[in-house]
């Protein structure tokens, strides 16, 4: 077990896996770090088939796979501090690739804190981790193509998916689907997806306005075109799109663009030697993540010609990313779902009303304790940014809660 690497890749989703493989192919010593026990990130969580070829490659090339490890600090230049369930360690890098991916955007509405209200990707992740969903009634809601993938996954495992509620309007979704026709691979995928969804209600311009239940979820009330109705259900899988995970990049001083970590053509950030790829540079989907990962991997291993060879693939994939943004933009009605009593900060039980009295994110943190809990503002901060337009402020270590032992 070594501690010093030519390249360290943080995040073993598609971008990170692609990056690590390319670095290894160039013969450079590389470590791949992820906080999950298996590689694959979110989209390939527990999925043998898509990850298998990449895993074969990383094993074959002797990529050092560091599992169950969370980067919580960058104590000195070229060094990352990691914490695992058992202990902690430091690793050194000459070049670093941040493939830290994205998390779901959760928006508050009455009842959203009830047990069994989960993210869309959240329920899927929990199901992939062994949660039994066969026979359970599920409403899938929120926004984005992820909802379809989640609904199909649940249905394939015998959950009863009552409906999919997509807040985007029908014309937007249709334009998006038609846009997919521009890329044959995507179209085939879309058609397979559509076939898998036959018999499922897919309602556009539809969103949840409340979840009901005493100690856990019992039903969800939905709105569509002025009509509201209540669906009994066991689970609500609800996510309003994705936001990039930027904490490590910020900690390291990387500049951000409006969409994520700012990178140049070679996926290099504003900090020399630090690269970023995948959803962290801006939500853009699987193909873009892989292309960016490959470019970052080649570039970090100093093989710029090889990096250039993947530029065309990236450009093609960027079209999908742009159409994604346009189609699934969040509608303003979603800002009105929460009442003043609705909890905004789940860690500290701070209702939205108290937070609205403040004039900045920092003031809200100091005066209401919103964002001062263990999630460090990851859930409430993204919601506050959408609801109130506040930019969340600077990042300090530890960027994930870490044991005192690890800090000293």
């Amino acid at each position: 077990m070594s501690d010093a690497f030519h390249v360290v890749v943080v995040g073993a989703g598609p971008a990170g896996l692609a990056a690590a493989c390319r670095v290894a192919e160039c013969g450079a010593k590389v470590a791949l770090v992820d906080d999950n026990p298996q590689p694959g990130g979110q989209i390939w969580r527990g999925a043998a088939s898509p990850t298998a070829p990449w895993i074969r490659k990383i094993e074959h090339r002797r990529v050092e796979w560091i599992a169950g490890a969370r980067v919580f600090a960058a104590p000195s230049p070229g060094v990352l501090a990691l914490e695992t369930f058992q202990g902690n360690r430091e690793i050194q890098y000459r070049n670093l690739i941040l493939a830290t991916g994205a998390r779901e955007l959760f928006l508050p509405f009455p009842g959203w804190t009830l047990p069994n209200v989960m993210g869309a990707g959240g329920l899927q992740a929990l199901a992939k981790s062994g949660l039994a969903i066969a026979g359970k009634r599920v409403v899938v809601a929120g926004s984005g193509p992820l909802l379809l993938a989640v609904a199909k996954y649940l249905r394939d495992r015998d959950a009863r998916v009552a409906l999919i509620a997509e807040q985007a309007a029908h014309p937007s979704v249709v334009r998006f689907a038609v846009g997919l026709a521009g890329s044959p691979g995507k179209l085939a995928q879309a058609m397979r997806l559509r076939a898998g969804l036959v018999g499922l209600r897919y309602l556009t311009s539809c969103w949840p306005i409340a979840a009901e239940g005493r100690d856990q979820l019992e039903s969800v009330t939905l709105r569509r075109a002025g009509r509201t109705w209540t669906e009994p259900c066991d689970y609500l899988a609800c996510g309003f799109g994705l936001v990039p995970n930027l904490e490590l990049a910020s900690l390291l001083g990387c500049k951000l663009s409006g969409r994520g970590v700012a990178v140049d053509d070679f996926q290099q950030t504003s900090v020399p030697g630090i690269y970023s790829a995948g959803e962290a540079t801006g939500i853009g989907g699987l193909d873009l993540a892989i292309a960016e990962g490959e470019i970052a991997g080649f570039a970090a291993a100093d093989h710029l010609q090889l990096a250039r060879s993947r530029f065309a693939a990236r450009t093609t994939a960027q079209r999908f990313a742009a159409s994604l943004d346009r189609a699934f933009a969040l509608r303003p009605e979603l800002k009105q779902l929460a009442t003043p009593d609705t909890i905004l900060c789940r860690c500290e039980d701070v209702p939205l009303g108290r937070v609205r009295e403040c004039t900045s994110w920092r003031e809200a943190k100091l005066h209401t304790r919103c964002g001062m809990g263990p999630c460090q503002g990851r859930v409430c901060g993204a919601a506050a940014e959408f609801l109130l337009g506040w930019r969340t402020d600077s990042v300090r270590p530890p960027i994930f809660p870490a044991r005192i032992d690890s800090l000293r």
């Binding site: 804190t113 993210g119 981790s129 062994g130 999630c375």
Partner: protein
């Protein structure tokens, strides 16, 4: 494999996370919020902290990211 949730034995498949075992034990309330509300997992990926349970005496463990091990003792906030 077998582990215990609030003293009750539960069987799960190899590779399952502790969160799945807790749910398999019929527990939907993983923890109580600071004002006493029942809470369960939200994000499934270790960032929301709502799935925290006590594992083998250690508090505040994110159950959605910790694989089950034979004989684990898991306690939720009751």
């Amino acid at each position: 494999m077998t582990l215990r949730i609030n003293g009750r034995a539960v069987q799960v498949a190899a590779g399952a996370m502790v969160s799945a075992a807790v749910a398999a034990a019929g527990v939907t309330q993983f923890r109580r919020s600071v004002t006493g509300q029942p809470r369960g997992p939200l994000c499934g990926m270790g960032i929301c902290f709502e799935c925290r349970v006590t594992i083998d005496g250690r508090e505040h463990c994110r159950s959605c990211q910790i694989p089950c091990a034979e004989g684990m003792e898991v306690r939720t906030d009751v």
